[in-house]
């Protein structure tokens, strides 16, 4: 079948199982959009308000479903608008294929209209990228992009296609869905060493990150913890892989981690790390991190072993295979003293929690708790970045894997709304976005997409009229110099804004309104927004100060 390059791109996407793409048309992708138009019964395109929103939507789609997300943009500004979205996906290892149009080959390098060297721009934020110079390699390049995006440690791949390649013609031969490249399995002696280290440990601690979600090992983590009698902690990126009602689960550790999880990790004598990368937000001061513990590190990416933290046993491997073999080989163990200590830490954490939440104002916890009454275990919970994100990470009762969708590594304010659209499209389920007035202000243009597509998104703005996370640092470390973090002068009425975009908006300003209004919000069928006033000096606690260690932990205001 002889097709144009544009047709080949879309046929290849369909062939690779892509059902929904996100994007924005423009001069150098008109042909591509024509090919989408004639195949709209086989592939759905979601038009966003801005390419950044499209990139975050494709990312949210991928995080919620585990499938490769696809975003399309035109050359020049279209392509550069994807950059933050691609970097977000790169830092969180999300499989994404970004397709950009470019000026025809004959105009490349001449600073033509809307020409940008997007492969150059995205070099450090993609797993790999391609400039497809001739049509004979087009279909295979797109297939290869999918292979790279989903193999090993997943990540974004960009394919830049000059316009003349889109208009040229070439035979198209359909292919099946490409497979991931097989990952090497852990060597037997490494697994044996891990088994031995676990046998010798008195205070083992299982510690997983986002790699556990990519590898689909929720059950294996729980099974290992059960067999060796260990608590389970995670990074922020690992949230939702193990349900909060697992009695061994301590939640996330790190800068704003759960107290028992962070202290437990510090006191452990063996940390079994799975698919996590010891980021600075997770470790604090590396010199003081996990001083009492030996560390086993199991990861899909060998370059993560000994990168940030020197480990005692590093295993680059297929994580799922390694976990299954490990579970088969470890001896059952009991650590009653250790587990009693963990229970004690959890009790302390609960006391702290009661003190922090004992107030008659609307606390973030109260809002999250109220929301959780109306959500299901499989409801995607999306966040933006800042204090609200940490509160959701700390308090929302995640029950099912891939339900927490948040920008971890890059910490992209403005990620949430686009990602929520993607998550809702991927799952077909009502999706909840927790955001802040700061983050929401960055990309609220995507409300247009939400209402145009009638995406069932419940937008909950934790509105403190400040850039709360930076303000918290200014309070603690900058003598309360609130430099450019006070938003009280903004006149934005989020309820009217919602109405202007064609969706209902609600407002909650007092605790007494919380229950009744949240109920009304969740009675809405389509997209809905609720603006909830919270206290401007609500802190995210506990907090390990940047570069600090567990001794520096702040658990209450006035601690430091």
């Amino acid at each position: 079948m002889i097709l144009t390059g544009a047709d080949i791109v879309v046929e290849t996407l369909i062939e690779q199982g892509v059902k929904t793409v996100f994007g924005y048309p423009g001069g150098q992708v008109i042909n591509l959009y024509d090919a989408l138009y004639t195949r709209s019964d086989r592939i759905k395109h979601v038009l966003t308000a801005h390419e950044q929103g499209a990139a975050h939507a494709a990312d949210g789609y991928a995080r919620a479903s585990g499938e490769v997300g696809v975003v399309i943009a035109t050359s020049g500004p279209g392509a550069t608008n994807l950059v933050t979205g691609i970097a977000t996906a790169y830092l969180d290892s999300v499989p994404l294929v970004a397709i950009t149009g470019n000026v025809p080959n004959s105009l490349i390098g001449r600073d033509s209209f809307q020409e940008v060297d997007i492969t150059g721009v995205t070099l450090p934020i993609t797993k790999h990228n391609f400039l497809v110079k001739s049509i004979d390699k087009l279909a295979d390049t797109i297939r290869e992009a999918f292979v790279i995006a989903k193999s090993g440690r997943p990540g974004p791949v960009l394919v830049d296609i000059p316009k003349d390649v889109q208009t040229a013609t070439f035979p198209y031969i359909p292919c099946s869905v490409v497979e991931k490249r097989p990952q090497r399995v852990a060597k037997g002696d490494k697994i044996s060493k891990a088994v031995q280290m676990i046998a010798e440990a008195q205070k083992p601690y299982i510690y997983y990150g986002g790699g556990a979600i990519s590898a689909g090992i929720s059950e294996e983590i729980a099974a290992l913890a059960e067999k060796i009698d260990a608590p389970i902690g995670c990074t922020m990126m690992g949230l939702s892989a193990v349900p909060v009602d697992n009695p061994r689960y301590l939640g996330m550790e790190g800068m704003h981690g759960h107290y028992a999880s962070s202290v437990g990790q510090d006191e452990a004598d063996l940390i079994i790390t799975i698919g996590a990368r010891f980021s600075d937000r997770a470790t604090g001061n590396v010199a003081k991190y996990a001083r009492r513990a030996k560390i086993i590190h199991i990861d899909a990416d060998g370059a993560e072993l000994n990168k940030n933290i020197n480990v005692d046993l590093g295993i680059e491997c297929d994580i799922k295979d390694a976990m299954q073999r490990l579970i088969g080989l470890v001896n059952e163990k009991q650590h009653p003293e250790w587990m009693a200590r963990i229970a004690e830490l959890k009790a302390q954490e609960h006391e702290q929690f009661l003190r922090v939440t004992a107030t008659d104002r609307i606390t973030p916890y109260a809002l999250i708790h109220e929301t959780a009454k109306y959500t299901n275990p499989d409801t995607p919970i999306v966040t933006d970045v800042g204090q609200h994100q940490m509160w959701v990470a700390q308090y929302y009762p995640f029950k099912q894997v891939r339900t927490f969708i948040s920008s971890g590594g890059l910490g992209t304010m403005g990620f949430g709304l686009g990602a929520a659209i993607g998550a809702a499209k991927a799952t077909g389920k009502r999706t909840v976005l927790f955001t802040g007035d700061g983050s929401f202000g960055m990309n609220l243009n995507e409300l247009a997409t939400v209402t145009a597509e009638n995406v069932p998104v419940t937008i909950i703005i934790m509105n403190n009229k400040v850039l709360g996370m930076v303000r918290q640092w200014q309070t603690l470390f900058f003598q309360q110099h609130y430099s450019n973090t006070d938003l009280h002068s903004r006149k934005t009425d989020f309820v009217k804004l919602a109405e202007a975009f064609g969706m209902p908006g609600y407002r909650i300003t007092a605790l007494s309104e919380l229950e009744t209004t949240v109920e009304k919000v969740f009675a809405e069928d389509g997209p809905v927004l609720v603006d909830v006033s919270i206290f401007e000096d609500e802190f995210v606690l506990p907090m390990l100060p940047p570069g600090g260690s567990i001794e520096d932990i702040i658990t209450e205001r006035g601690d430091k």
């Binding site: 150059g120 797993k127 000994n306």
Partner: protein, 168 residues
């Protein structure tokens, strides 16, 4: 910090050098020198990089290089098991008072004069980096007007190859 030499076999495609060099830049690894050239197979190019760093830096560099899509092989060219060579062209003042010293140095270092004018002369010297640096130190007081160096290239001795598919 120890200096070591890494040989990298990459696909012979445009932009590969940028990908490799960019990785060093963004991970904060410093390169002493870098060369890139054709190989016995037109599909591949060979990049040789000399750098300094401790073992953890060295191992991180190798692992990060292996993650790059177009990188086929990465190998440390161990000093005792490899031949290192570098070439330098060095332009010196040609005046009667120092000419004799220069010519003796050229002779002792088994280098050669490749250009000779009334005011300047140019020396070509090849060898290991240490030899070239010794020569430079010797002629520096005479006055080096201009210098360029190729950077080190390296190949393993005997029946060892960068490309793991190669055999006798």
């Amino acid at each position: 910090m120890e200096r070591y030499v890494i040989a990298i076999l990459v696909d012979n495609q445009p932009g590969i050098l940028t990908r490799v060099a960019s990785m060093f830049n963004r991970r904060g690894f410093n390169i002493d020198c870098l060369t890139v050239s054709e190989t016995e197979d037109s599909q591949h190019s060979r990049i040789t990089i000399a750098l300094r760093g401790d073992n953890s830096v060295r191992s991180q560099i190798i692992k990060q290089l292996r993650k790059l899509y177009n990188v086929k092989e990465v190998k440390v060219m161990e000093h005792g098991k490899s031949v290192y060579r570098e070439l330098a062209l060095i332009k010196l003042r040609n005046n009667p008072e120092t000419r004799h010293d220069v010519l003796s140095a050229v002779d002792i270092f088994r280098s050669k004069i490749v250009d000779f004018s009334p005011t300047t002369l140019c020396v070509e010297i090849t060898g290991e980096t240490s030899k070239i640096e010794a020569f430079i130190a010797l002629v520096e007081p005479i006055g080096i007007l201009e210098m360029c160096r190729t950077g080190v290239v390296a190949i393993e001795r005997g029946d060892s190859y960068l490309n793991s598919e190669t055999s006798l």
